[in-house]
Symmetry: C2
């Protein structure tokens, strides 16, 4: 799987879907040879896993080679990782994300944080070490809680100023050292929305490459409908508000990011994102609950 400055190389399939460009090692070799590039760059490849048939898969960042030339030779295009999340199918996105996260980790851990000395990678790229010491470092993910707050009939979504226009998602924040999942959720919801969480229920989890490899732990957080008055921390969130089932279903029906200049619309994270899963799960539970009444 090829990258350029951490952007994955994607190609458009005949059915107009997108996938990552997977090349055999000897194809990468001929590609580099054609472009007159240094073949030793292949040694920077990182093992990302094995197929069911036992074939080893690697990723490689070709930042040292001209991007346009690689695109022309391969028939693919280097795409911003966030954008690729809207182009790739649910089965393809996680491996691209993992690959980019591993490449990024190696690029940002060339030095030992203990000694400041240069580190070396092991052959597979699963860790780095400082020669002559016992200092090993492993690719790290930072635990983050993402909580869908609900009060029985509505759920709470917010948006950061950096989000694209109209995008809302569940509240999220890094776990502080020393905290449990439940403590992080209670603190984040109190800080960002001024609400007291009564109970926390785990839903699912996910590796997320932004901003820097997070380990997203998705939860539902119940608050009392009698105490649902929001007090939004505007330094953290541009907006946060309650959504009822109808508004959520309208948002879920928006499949792709609205085009620039199109009328304002509320939409949610892409299908592969745990934020999407939490919102869909809540809507499903809410529908069932309303039918059973």
């Amino acid at each position: 799987m090829l990258f350029h400055s951490l952007q994955p190389l994607l190609k458009r399939n005949q059915d107009h879907s997108f996938s990552s460009v997977s090349l055999h090692c000897h194809d990468v070799n001929s590609l580099l040879r054609k472009l007159g590039a240094d073949l030793s760059v292949i040694q920077d490849s990182i093992l990302i896993g094995c197929s069911d048939r036992g074939h080893a898969h690697f990723c490689l960042d070709l930042a040292a080679v001209d991007a346009a030339a690689v695109e022309e030779e391969s028939g693919g295009k280097f795409v911003d990782l966030r954008k690729s999340y809207f182009l790739l199918s649910e089965s393809k996105a996680p491996l691209v994300a993992k690959s980019q996260a591993l490449l990024r980790w190696h690029q940002t851990h060339r030095f030992c944080s203990c000694s400041g000395k240069l580190t070396q990678r092991n052959r597979a790229g699963s860790h780095r070490f400082t020669a002559g010491t016992q200092n090993y470092s492993y690719p790290q993910m930072s635990p983050v809680v993402i909580a869908l707050v609900h009060d029985g009939t509505r759920c709470l979504l917010g948006r950061q100023a950096s989000f694209p226009p109209g995008l809302y998602s569940a509240l999220a924040g890094f776990c502080d050292m020393g905290e449990s999942v439940e403590e992080s959720v209670r603190r984040e919801v109190a800080e960002e929305a001024g609400l007291e969480v009564l109970s926390v229920t785990y839903s699912s989890s996910q590796h997320w490459p932004f901003p820097n490899s997070s380990f997203m732990i998705g939860c539902f957080a119940a608050v009392s409908p009698a105490h649902s008055q929001l007090s939004v921390d505007r330094s953290e969130l541009e907006d946060a508000r309650w959504f009822d089932l109808e508004q959520i279903e309208r948002g879920l029906s928006v499949r792709t990011p609205p085009r620039r200049g199109a009328p304002a619309v509320t939409w949610f994270p892409p299908k592969h994102a745990i934020g999407h899963r939490l919102i869909s799960e809540w809507a499903e539970l809410q529908r069932r609950h309303m039918t059973s009444r």
Copy 2:
């Protein structure tokens, strides 16, 4: 809260329980003055939180000062962190653990992993940064799954060769980059015990300072009683075996680590550890299940 080379200073209370020694800033000042130590070391204190009354709490490592002299002046004793887990009450242990983890993180992140340059801490000690760059680094915890495998009537516990004699706990392992909680549990249980997990249920989570600040995510992992034949990976585990409720209850009744030379006995992690909580929860469910039959 004072430490020496990452060992917390504990004192024995009148009721023979132990707590960490908490000194006011001016008491630390006079202590250092008495010992003829450099007072500027106080600036290395790290903010660990606020009391309900709004008092700021800090931790400080006095590695530069003679340990025995501090012990004599304060009436306390510097104790290995693992040992302190058996001495401290359930309410005191987490803050000592968090403090030690923060101190350790600062000590091992004096250099920027991107550039190899020296980093500086901010005043509170909540992060470090590289002067003149946008490189910030925050104290990190590594996600680890700890899974109590059960087959309906028995649960599976294992021991690493490094554990004290007779100690058994739930299976645990680091989450690989790209994995979810459920994927990590399935992989770890397959790798370490050769079992296929049918379902994973989240129980609770916990910060754990060993070996290097882990974010422990505790789960129950169900396997089929028809496929419970173990195939233990001896490079990872010294032993792993099935325990029935009676054996678990016997282990839970051992309150303190058996003394050296005492007869061999099976025992479990201390009360503050998530391993203990998982085992107790399983025993409780099992008892209820047996009563209801």
